[in-house]
Symmetry: C2
Subunit: 451 residues, 2 copies
């Protein structure tokens, strides 16, 4: 499988609950755990399979541009592992992760102002596994997780798989709205909900592209602390800033009430599947037990390579290079949106991978996707980023993977799709051809020429 | 961390439910999910930390002897990955795993007679994650899992973390006893239990060292099929036979009713954390969704290295080499047991990593461990391999990691411990000094000179 053809969906994880096909023919129907109904196929998986053809410009995936890493840097690290530490790299290791790697993780977090002990770091199989472990540890069926609306689709998939109820809290251009959080907590308390944590991506939000302001951060932490609500801070993009430095992570302000999640996937490479959780002592102890149960120990080989990479290579310089690559692409996307879709609105990210675009009210993000793929451009419909059916008027555009030229072509094609759909809707307004339902059919059965 | 100092416990996973220390000081006490009480520290973790000192002969861990793999074989594979496929190896991949690797996995399973489609293989983060995913998919709190008594400690830890109730079914030297299985199912049905699956390690059992006879295999499958009970066949050691070839896996006899779990950890190296599940269609579809939710995708880097290893290296020859290494160690252990502990009884494994030893009825496997560590030999008490408190009269000895000379020294030391304990018990019989309870204290507080 070449990189170009790598599926786009796995990097996003499953979407909201949708019936798994073939249930009627399943001899084990009726014997699965109740939580299995929360495991669901992505709404747009079939279409994304089509969209992975090389002629399609994909603005849909969250794949980092790993070609920006000189291959020699990896080769140097691997050679040193095999020369100096091969038996340990091939062996089982500690469930919590190598102490040496956990020390290096402290260096990364120090770049964002976090001071911590390596004892409180738990190495995981990507930060996705950290989300899974925290959820497994805290969520009984029906428990409430507060999350920004929209929120990361892969986290929503985990929450659903443990039968959590996700309640979205609105954001604006300064991130999560404290007053809305407070009001929602009051509403949930009144309803008798068992709220377990706030899941937030404060910096360079996926998918919204916004950053929680420095002013709001202590206010939100204060609300959560007062309500005895744990904060799970997911921060995979924090070091990928383009303009000014973002506010410091929530973890720096309230170490005792924040579980911080980090990842090597965006600042090094996702293929090693190494992320981490930094957690208060009592939670960290349980996370170690949970990960030992789930996988025994994270990959020693991956951990050794990352250690050597951080010890022998200018990894900070590589992060600067990533910033430059992504800044150029962000600029290309914003310029192309201004040129080709001047009547729409979108967020202006100061870092990360994503722009969040509002569609004209006549269009539906999911229903428009088949036409987009036919026009050789792919995006992610906003519906995947909500647990409650919102997102029909929004789409997420990723600028991380395609080149600036591809981005310009992609946005030009997207403009043709949006304008074409608008003409169609306005010409046939009132016919119901784009009413909810017809679009679902279109997604699961794209035109024959796309197959 | 050197290989010699690698902790012994993670390779075994957590043990049965024990209160996590510090609960009283935990500000999140009362907010964890109910299942969190099933996450537990190993009963003997503290002691094993002491036992990882180099002067201790450890017969406790399940670490393969990865030094038997020539380092050049790995280097060749890694070099080719970086030369030919670096961007894909560094990127996210398919949640189900690389198609190319899944084809190679078919070649491995074909060595044991399994015919299957690569479509039905799900690549996992070690086969431990496959156990976790299957359990997550099927187990509601209180559901019953049938398992051999004793059974793999790491599987028991997973089952406990999903609040399963494990019911052990006895084994003899021919493996699981069909009549006992039938009787237990009847008993559970009468009690109204929701039985979900039989978890079995039919070949070179961990920890029992026995193999289910060819005669019993179809009988056990027939019972499970009749009772609509799924069979989860865990087979990490099947290719590591020492004498005659073992009977074919259960999966060859009943593909529709068996989820088969395999691993590269024992035939290649555990440091890559790659295993797999081979499952009937409906279950496989759900396992893919479950693993995407848990980790997005398994490590592309690890998968690419294994592909190159299998394409460029005589991996079958390497398995033969592993067999020779482990056969020599098994022989050393059996000979040393006969020499130094002629009055005990033990199983005679025809493959795998373990010998299961019965202690004299006066001794307790867990209570004896601190003395053993003081005498510079470690083993795993039988209690870890039962969910119900059995195992006090049994210990597991591993011959996979120490050299034949170390094994002889270790067994000689173990004999001194057993004989010393016996003398002590017989001298003070009736004093209650070895009654249950006093031993627990001894384990959690080993003599000061061991700290």
């Amino acid at each position: 499988m070449t990189e170009q053809h790598a599926p786009l969906v796995p990097a996003e994880g499953p979407s909201r609950a949708v019936d798994v096909p073939g249930t009627d023919l399943d001899p084990w129907h009726g014997t699965y755990a109740a939580r299995a109904s929360g495991l669901s196929v992505s709404e747009v998986r079939a279409l994304f399979a089509v969209a992975s053809r090389p002629e399609v410009v994909s603005l849909a995936g969250g794949m980092p541009y790993v070609r920006a890493i000189p291959r020699e840097l990896i080769a140097t690290a691997v050679d040193r592992v095999l020369l100096t530490d091969a038996p340990a790299a091939l062996q089982y290791g500690s469930g919590q992760g190598m102490p040496r790697l956990r020390e290096h993780i402290l260096e990364i977090m120090a770049l964002e102002g976090i001071e911590a002990s390596a004892d409180d770091v738990v190495t995981t199989t990507g930060s996705q596994q950290a989300i899974d472990l925290v959820t497994k540890l805290f969520i009984d069926p029906g428990d409430v997780i507060l999350a920004e609306g929209p929120s990361y689709v892969g986290a929503l998939g985990v929450f659903s798989s443990y039968q959590a109820r996700v309640v979205h809290v609105p954001m604006d251009e300064h991130g999560l709205v404290p007053e809305a959080l407070e009001a929602e907590i009051t509403r949930q308390r009144a309803a008798g909900s068992r709220m377990k944590f706030l899941y937030t991506i404060p910096t360079f939000h996926n998918p919204a592209g916004v950053t929680m302001s420095a002013e709001r951060r202590p206010r939100i932490l204060e609300i959560c602390r007062r309500e005895h609500l744990l904060v799970v801070e997911d921060n995979p993009y924090g070091l990928l800033s383009f303009d000014e430095t973002p506010p410091q992570p929530l973890r720096t302000l309230d170490p005792d009430n924040v579980v911080y999640l980090g990842s090597f996937s965006k600042t090094f490479a996702p293929g090693f599947r190494v992320g981490w959780a930094l957690a208060p002592l009592a939670i960290r102890e349980k996370l170690v037990l949970a990960t030992e149960s789930a996988i025994l120990s994270p990959s020693s080989f991956s951990q050794h390579i990352i250690c050597e990479y951080m010890e022998t290579v200018d990894w900070r310089g590589q992060i600067v290079r990533f910033r430059e690559v992504y800044r150029e692409r962000r600029d290309a996307m914003l310029a192309a949106l201004a040129t080709y879709l001047p009547n729409l609105t979108w967020t202006v990210p100061n870092g990360g991978f994503y722009v969040w675009v509002k569609l004209p009210s006549e269009l539906h993000s999911k229903q428009m996707l088949p036409r987009a793929v036919r026009e050789l451009v792919a995006y992610t419909p906003g519906t995947g980023f909500y647990a409650d059916g919102q997102g029909g008027r929004e789409i997420r555009l990723s600028f991380c993977y395609p080149t600036p030229d591809e981005i310009r072509v992609g946005i030009q094609r997207l403009a043709a799709v949006v304008n074409g759909e608008l003409e169609l809707v306005r010409a046939f307004s009132g016919t119901g051809s784009l009413a909810p339902g017809s679009g679902d059919r279109a997604v699961s059965a794209p035109p024959p020429d796309l197959r």
